[in-house]
């Protein structure tokens, strides 16, 4: 039995005739849509490498069945830059050395974008670390990752102030 599924992925509508209910969102992105920026680390919801935004919220795509997400709006790492212009979180990861091998980075960046949108951490480095604890980094780039997130939070606060002034 096939399942007709419609998703919006990085702003593009994709109609999928799903032949197997077991397919996770992660495997759909990587194996069927060639969006390999989203990484498979543990495949069990423990490492965060597969983090994407679904309807604006960060989740582990390895623990999401496609068949249950008909109609969802999905943002992956491929959809965050504007042409050659990096997303501010991507640029901050570069500026602060928030990576070494890079495998966890797409998940870290999607998680950081989600964290900033959630608006709970502010400029508190402890809240940022707590809010990013679902993303493991075996290279141990945590210090740079935290600095990158705080930097983006600071820039956003400054530009918001300018806008309201």
């Amino acid at each position: 039995m096939n399942f007709p599924i419609s998703l919006t992925i990085n702003g593009v509508r994709r109609d999928i005739d799903l032949d197997d209910p077991r397919v996770t969102l992660l495997d759909l992105l990587r194996e069927r849509l060639d969006l390999t920026g989203t990484k498979k680390g543990c495949d069990r919801g423990q490492c965060g490498a597969c983090t994407v935004l679904v309807d604006g919220r960060r989740i582990n795509s390895c623990l999401a069945l496609v068949v249950s997400h008909d109609g969802a709006d999905i943002l992956t790492i491929e959809g965050v830059a504007r042409g050659n212009e990096l997303h501010p979180v991507q640029a901050a990861f570069v500026a602060h050395d928030g990576l070494q091998c890079g495998f966890c980075t797409p998940g870290q960046i999607m998680s950081a974008i989600g964290l900033i949108q959630e608006g709970q951490a502010g400029h508190d480095s402890e809240r940022v670390r707590e809010g990013m604890s679902g993303n493991l980094c075996r290279c141990g780039a945590y210090a740079g990752i935290t600095e990158a997130v705080l930097d983006v939070q600071q820039s956003l606060a400054t530009s918001n102030q300018r806008r309201s002034a």
Binding site: R44, G45, G48, R57, A64, V67, Q120, E126
Partner: protein, 351 residues
Amino acid sequence: MMNFDYVKPATVTDAIAAAAEPGSAYLASGTNLLDLMKGGVSRPSRLVDVTRLPGLDRIEWQPDGSVRIGALVRNADLAHDSEFARAFPAVAEALLSGASAQLRNAATIGGNLLQRTRCAYFYDAASACNKRWPGAGCAARDGENRMHAVLGWSEACIATHPSDFCVPLVALNAAVEIEGRNGRREIALDALHQLPGATPERETKLEPGDLIVAVLLPAQSRTFAAHARYIKLRERTSYAFAIVAAAAALRIENGSILEARLALGGVAAKPWRAGAAEQILTGCKPEPGIFGRAAEAALSDARPSGDNVFKIELAKRIVVRALTSAAAGTPERVPALPGSPFSSVSGVLHD
């Protein structure tokens, strides 16, 4: 993962009929179930997707001040609902101390109640486990068992219930609303989870087809809001299950405890309400001596199930810490490190 049939019913009635068939399992977010299915631990032949059932994703305040939390409300949404967090701060803190932000965004509160134990032998399909295979034996009894139960365990099973959310809920007299083949009923959360005894495969009072549709918190439990904490010791500060945890809630007037609530997590197959300790605290001044006596009472029946005698002393100290923190007052905002004994908020003892 074994293949399965997939159905997405439009009504609760259809969902119950589909899920009552042998081999069926409900699917909400799937953060626990899909993990178990990938490991071959759960092998449902049919998934009944409840995520689109109408009306189960709301937090509803009742005229009497109680709250009805729909089973499909996401953990993060409940924890960050400011009215809820003000009324039930220990519940919000427990939710935010659990899992990761990604998992809290997905996981539902109904699913949280029904998550399975994290016993490594339950998770390893090649190990003996009476829960997975009744009569197979328990590999944990002679295995790595320092994280296992110290209360309410049996020779058949020493696993613990991993939920943080359930610990303050059971302390605050939460109830569960269930729809089943014979209509709607309500039971105390404390009566939902079963101790293992000789039948550890039977974890809850739910019958085939039963669907948890809501969690209810009584208005009276809001009277603890000024003195309520959840304290959870983990092997790392974030994104880990509890070694031991405690929810403490006090109603303090004129310097005395009018009423106390206490429950422990990580120590048994269910969230563990410590009624005897609550009685000891009632009418006393909130002071270290009485907190110590309450902790002794809460763990008086505890005994190690393996290399975990340390958990008994640890649990006593976490009880004292939770009571001390609750007495000091609920912080204005959930601490940066929710539930952590290492968080720098009021009421923390550095001893």
